[in-house]
């Protein structure tokens, strides 16, 4: 989208904000396009991982409420921490965990257990992400998930990863373990995956297998009556002899 010229007028900020709004709007239009077979598999990933949310979330004020906290063997343990906030498109997201553990000696590392996140992909589709454990590094703004992650969206897509390392600020995610993505009419497996640029580019590697069950994928297609092709593959009269 061509950046608007910045007229140096009093309301420079207004233009700035319109540009961001327009960017967010075009951004949300881009997210709208999630309902397509093949790309949906990819955008699903881009659109749903924690990275995506954190990346789109400006440093908006987030409320972290902690039910109770205690120290156990010298570590600060928070029970049922919840983190909610709004994405750039003003859609609410919610991240909860059973426990958040912080070692006073390494305050920038927070270990989350039983992570459960509800992340909006767009106005009407949201994704639920669960992971047994997540290690959040505040300085690097990264999240390492050593255990399986399940992503399920409200429009029937599902992704399963064995682990993932997420660069939250950079909006990137990578895993070198098998991934499985399924949705109505198609499923995809691969042995590694890298998401970058907030899901704009998704790279699968090592025995990628995509299976499209075209019957359900294009329900509306009526079964064409192909007349049986007679004779040899090339009808003599049709061969163009120049």
């Amino acid at each position: 989208m061509a950046g608007t010229k910045k007229q140096m007028t009093g309301d420079g900020i207004v233009i700035e904000r319109n540009r961001d709004f327009a960017k967010a709007q075009s951004h949300s239009r881009r997210v709208q396009r999630l309902k397509i077979i093949l790309p949906a598999l990819a955008v699903l990933l881009g659109g749903t991982f924690l990275a995506y949310t954190y990346a789109v979330t400006p440093d908006a004020p987030q409320t972290v409420n902690v039910v109770d906290s205690a120290t156990s063997d010298g570590k600060l343990v928070m029970a049922n921490p919840t983190l909610n906030g709004f994405t750039q498109e003003n859609l609410p997201y919610l991240l909860t965990a059973a426990r958040a553990i912080q070692d006073p000696a390494a305050l920038d590392i927070i270990t989350l257990e039983d992570v459960n996140a509800r992340i909006p992909m767009d106005a009407d589709v949201s994704a639920r992400i669960t992971a047994a454990k997540g290690i959040f590094n505040r300085t690097e703004n990264s999240l390492t998930v050593p255990s399986p992650i399940i992503v399920e969206t409200s429009d029937g897509k599902r992704a399963e990863l064995q682990d993932a390392s997420i660069d939250i600020r950079g909006g990137a995610l990578s895993t070198s373990s098998p991934v499985a993505i399924s949705m109505e009419g198609a499923n995809l497996t691969a042995n590694s995956m890298q998401i970058s640029e907030n899901g704009k580019i998704i790279l699968f590697e090592n025995s990628v297998r995509l299976r499209i069950d075209s019957k359900s994928a294009n329900q509306q297609k009526t079964n064409r009556q192909d007349e049986p092709a007679q004779g040899t593959m090339v009808d003599a009269k049709d061969t163009v002899l120049e």
Binding site: R29, R30, Q32, R33, L34, K35, I36, I37, L38, P39, L41, A42, V43, G46, G185, L188, A190, G199, K200, I201, I202, L203, F204, E205, N206, S207, V208, R209, L210, R211, I212, D213, S214, K215, A217, N218, Q220, K221, N223, R224, D226, E227, P228, A229, G231, T232, M233, V234, D235, D238, T239, V240, L241, E242
Partner: protein, 162 residues
Amino acid sequence: QQSRSGLADLNLSGDQPIEIESDRLEVRDAERVAVFSGNVQATQGPTVMRAGRMVVHYRTEGADASTSSQGGNIERLEVEQKVYVKSENRVATGDRATFDMATEVLIMTGEKVVLSEGDNVLTGCKLTIQMNSGKADLEGCKSQQSGSGRVRMLLQPGSQNQ
């Protein structure tokens, strides 16, 4: 049981599931392409296609998704690097192929496009197949030593049994 023959079977929009395998798949949403590369193999029913690289161009949901062609939101495929297409006993090989989902036309081009069925072998430079009717046109090569762009056809006598 009269087996439907002809490359018409290579119709990616049929009802049978399609399996695509490759070493790598890169989906670039901004350009709305998905690039399969490295030992790409696409199989649908009796039809198999192999190539080094296959680019799938898809349409965004915004466009007329409801009236999208049978292939759902896929607009066209571009296949390159040793393209091999086999459907039952028919094989076509060439350097590049494109398949347009809407018109269901497969066009295979290359220095030497070879189309064979059993022992019958045809060589030319451009093979156009209407997938829905199975009608195929093989055009000869315009220049070079292969004569005046004629299609070279080798028909084995007695192999016309149907």
